[in-house]
Amino acid sequence: MTPINETLAQYSELFMLIAALIYLVSFFFFSWDMASASRSIRKLENELETVNTKELVGASGPSVNEPNDRKQLVSDDMEYTDGIKRPAANIGVAILVVAMLAHAFAVVARAVAASRAPWGNLYEFMTSGALVITVVYLLFLLRKDLRFVGTFVSGVVLLMMMGATIGFPTPVGNVQPALQSWWLITHVSVAVVASGIFALTFSMSVLQLIKQRAEKQGPVNGFMRLVPSSSALENWSYRLNAVAFVMWTFTLIAGSIWAEQAWGRYWNWDAKEVWTFVIWVIYAGYLHARATRGWTGTRSAWLNITGFLALVFNYTIVNLYFPSLHSYAGF
């Protein structure tokens, strides 16, 4: 066992706080983008009126037939278009990158300080989970224009950071023997990435429901015009959820292999296992809903939201209050 590097551990804690502050700033910019959406849209439309629309709209771009002032402002494939300028959102993304760097330093420093993977307790689990969410989001941003969920992503990450540092501060230490397993490391890391994707599709499903209501009530206004159509949101959450579901299935299997190695039973219906299973079944239901008549659209969005709520419940209430072998009492 290598000794704990206490200096590095202190730097890690400091940078965790700094990262949380930067996330807060990023959150403000994304919110500002949301709040000022109507104004930016009006500005763009004023500019458009002076320009010949035919030139701006390519053959594969948004439909030409819509009336000029109701034109679609974002692509349903979430491609970047040079339509509307969103300076606040862009600053939000830039600041998010800075926050991510500080955050990554904090997480890596903690791992190096303890010479192990940084998810041995709830504090570490939440802070590295938050980092994964940010990284997953930024990676998607490279290819797709997902700025419309920026407020949500930075908000969730901020909450997780605050929850970890205020709710469960834990000094760096070596990990209990039961947690020293290669299977556990893969199990947890894949689960965290899957959860990051589920968080993203959760926000897309929420927006889908809001947008759908807006679409039904006539012309869409304000920030919602910067959000892709509800059917595009549905398609994209399905695509992403399919990836996350495979990861969750793997999580389930890797967890069972670890349980077999640690306790001799691969499945014991302990509270943590029950909830991992429940979440898996809900998302299986979600995938089925896609192929079931009458269950696409609103209902499948609700299923996706339920799945994510179960996931949050699993990481918070179940971890804290449910007696479980996974809480490693007794050894």
């Binding site: 066992m1 039961a178 695509r239 001799g264 219906w269 299973f277 089925h288 050894f331």
Partner: protein, 501 residues
Amino acid sequence: MRTALMLLLLLAVAAVPGSLFPQRRAGADVVETWIDDNPTIGPILDFLGMFDVYSSVWFSAIYLLLFVSLVGCLWPRGKQHFKTLRQPPARTPRNLKRLPEYGQLILESNGPTPEEALVDAEKLLKKSGYRTELRDGSVGAERGYVREIGNILFHFGLLGVIVFMGIGGLYKYEGQKIIVEGQGFTNNLVSYDSFTPGTAFSEERLAPFGIQLEDFDVVFDRDSETHFGQALDYTATMQVTPGPGEETYQDTIKVNDPLTVDGVRVFLVGNGYAPNITVTDGEGDVAYSGPVIAQIQDPNTNSSLVVLKVPDAQPEQLGFVGLFLPTSYTGDDGVAVSIDPDAYNPELILNSYHGDLGLDDGTPQNVYVLDTDGMTEMNSRNNENGGITLGVGDSYDLPDGMGSISFDGWDRYVGLDLHYDPSKWGVGFFSSLALVSLVISLYVRRRRAWVKATERDGHTVIEYGLLARGETFGLREENIKLRQSFDHTWPVIPPDTSEDK
């Protein structure tokens, strides 16, 4: 599909109570205490099976129905797909322009004839994984058949998992055993402290091996300021005899790293100290001598509970209860506590009793609880004799000539879980199969493609169309790829000079 969805959602809901209420499978006594504490709702919940959720009628009914519906729904689908596999790709639609992706190319007049172009097109489609058929004036192509195979294998993989879990329930067994350093254990029913057999278990199934705990070693964290004394590593060194008359070898057990003998896995699930104690009774005979399992009360200091019953003592039975302190330290208040989990200064702090242990009426007793109802207190911090404090090698004469007790030394003990589950390989196989086929069924795309070739004004005109079955993601990209490979193969007239619009 609707039934399957409903049953899936029902299954998710039905699994939840098992995490809310204590389950008998995890510990029957916890459940009984819970029912005693909630006398009104307890029995009702018990009647509803809330304490045995995963073996309850309703839970089993849901998943059995789910799998009945699975077989009922996927078997015909599988048969249908088997037929599809042997049929040629779907016939060419009359108007390709109606398809979601469509393209047209006009070739230079020195290019291939329509017939030659179709042969090329078939080759290109084959190369991109399509199954093709060359027809009169067109090529029909289809790909992604394995998607459906993946889907069917996934569902039957899940069925395999359930079947093998069921087989496991028949033949598996598990048991617990505590052994002290130097002690051994042979795998037969009487040796276990507790034993849970599968429903089809018979005693001949126990593999006749023996194991002995040679040494148990704990590494404590001595570097960290914040986690000083936390246990970092446990190693049990074992002597293993795989069968009667067979050669003994040495092996180790660690947490997450069990010992495997004859298919039985031996896990390290607990540990503690076992002080060696000798009790001599009032008549001068040795009434007890050996290790006493002390239960750890506080994992930070390993302060442990000692209970010793000496039924053989004469003229009266003796009982002792107290603490084993691995690193004993007496503070200013005169109370001894343990200040470290390792055994630097082990001490026994005991109260003693004489009288009737209450063992003779045959009711089973918890070995870790001393029932003092029929006994008289001899030593305690609260009476004039005081408590007994013994360091290693110390001895103490009990009051009133009741005998003596000595603390001879200490060993460590381990709690072992033994598991035998022959079906776990089947479960592992089918869950891996399900995972792999899930990937196939979610990511393989089903596509149909058609290419038509006609002649117009001495030019060969190619038309093609693409159709997605199921998810339409990436159909546009597929069109672009196909288009590029056509552009590479044939002398295509650039679109701005042709009328391709």
